[in-house]
Amino acid sequence: MFQNPEIALDALPVADDLDWEKLHPHYSRRIRVQVIIVFAVIALGLAALNFVPNVPLLPFVILYSQWVIALTIALFWPGISVPRRGYVLRDKDILFRKGVIWRSVTAIPFNRIQHVETSNTPLDRKFDLANLQLFTAGGSGGDLKIDGLGKGIAERLRVFILNKAGAPVEDA
């Protein structure tokens, strides 16, 4: 039988004050390792400059100090940004928040998800991490990418969301 009960706006579920799931505790460390690798490569490049003859000292000092400053920021930043990221899995949708200065909360209803993908890089595997990507229609690339999930959790999320996404839709 067709039903169309009235719905009070106040009774709607509120996507606020939720228990945000944190990312995997190893994730910050994983980012820092990547930062160190990248900066080591840059350092090698800088070191190679030493062999160039007749370069005044000042540019070197500026370059090296910039390297140190950038490295310090890049190492500290995950400590600030990673705790700000989190996700909530609800019965009918998933929410993901991120951002320190520019904050955003993205919500994707399961019945709009086209497909789900998990991936991991060699570095991720070292830390037992994986990334989860959710795709909706019309988006380019991953519409929602959650990095730094535990490997097991990412897989469980994938299966859970995929089951939900397969819900039958009546044709218009």
Binding site: P13, A15, A107, P109, R112, D143
Partner: protein, 501 residues
Amino acid sequence: MKTLELDTWYRTSPFAILFFIGKTIRLLAKNAWQSLIPLAGLAATDKFDVISIIKIGAVGLGAVIAGGAILSYWFFRYRLTDDSILIRQGVVKKKQLDIKFGRIQGINTQQNPIYRVLKLVTVNFDTAGSSGNEGNLPAVTRSFADSLRERIGKKPRETVAEDIAAVADSTMLVSLNWRDMVRIGLADRRALIVFAFIGPLMEQIGDQLDGYIERFVLLAAANGIDFDAASGLWAATAIVLAVVLLFVLVSVAAAFLQYHRFALWLDGQTLRSRGGLLTKHEHSMDLGKIQTLRLQQGVVETWQRRFRLTARQAVASGKNRAQKVFTIPSVGAQQADEFRQLFYAPEAGVLTQDPRSDVFAPISPYYMRSRILFVGFLPALIITAATAVTAGAFSLLFLLWLPVVAAVSYRSWKRAGYLHDDNEIVRRSGFLGYRTVGLLFRKVQRVTVSQSRYQRRKGLASLRMYMASGSVKVPYIEHETAKRLRDYILYKVESSDRAWH
């Protein structure tokens, strides 16, 4: 027409060669025109006998294109099965397309003047998703196109007659006459773009012209006619007017080319349009596929009190992210609202999309303030400070940036707004003109509420609704409102069991 047998490979009519030639030329025009610039530079140096090189090149290129087209035609074959159409094509790289009838959303046809004489059409299958694999079937008979329509379960149009009267059995919505063509042409913004491109060229032409005028004046003086400064001004004005007139004529001609005898009608649940002077374009879009309706008005259209209404369908994923846009080139505000009602019925369509309506809720004035602060004041200050040492007092000129940004921000804020009810939302924006975008909540794909630091301090947020056709942002509204709208949209999407596409 002979009926086609199932499971047999067919070639299309040899006139398809024309289609392949056109396709190659379009491809060249799109991708290779930049490489013509050095050629033009070469021509200017007149070191080589460039003209003859170009002649040889053109003949060679023509031969290659024609040969390629013949080969493409030869290797192009199609086959009908019970539930799909297979297309095999490709000379070097073979490609086979299997287009399932169930996946075809519409069949569009195009007819250029030669095909019109021969009573042939080019069929374009409109499939959801991968637009890289779009299927074209060049040079087939119209009755075949109609039989295809029948096959995929879409009601075929009654006749192939040129008359608009032929479609009288379905609901006729719009037919545009030559006056509308002139209106569309006048409002065409592309003319301005062309103008910007050839602007630098104009200078050179102007130099040449100066020479001519000078000689003319001398000649006149020799004959006892005296030109004063005023008549010089008149001459300059006349030249400018002539150029403007030329552009207007070109855009009006373009409007005729694209929309001549434009007709829009509703065929069951499918919108269809037809128009075009030389090549006739026929488009179709299922009402259920519409993601957003956009009503746009440029400066000229403001004077005309006309709008351009476009219905947008999902963007295909993949490399060619082409978007299906269904355009109604010229409508009035009230007419547009009537269409909305018709397109979104029965669930929605009651809101107005007329930007002049006073029911739009404004967004926060902090929108304006933040733009003035971050786009205007800070950059102007930084650049002024940075150049103060070298440029001296001239650096203060950079501060003029500030009033410009302020004016633009104020105007954009004034024109921004939104409006919603239980089923749909309309957002208004614009700077010179107006643009309103309307969508159904239940077709939203995902939704984001975001805040900058500045917005957080003021308790504001931006709401962005991602549709399958692109996103629609409502900036600088109360954070609480944004969150409530988001929760409501999620509820609408999650409780809807109707397809969004």
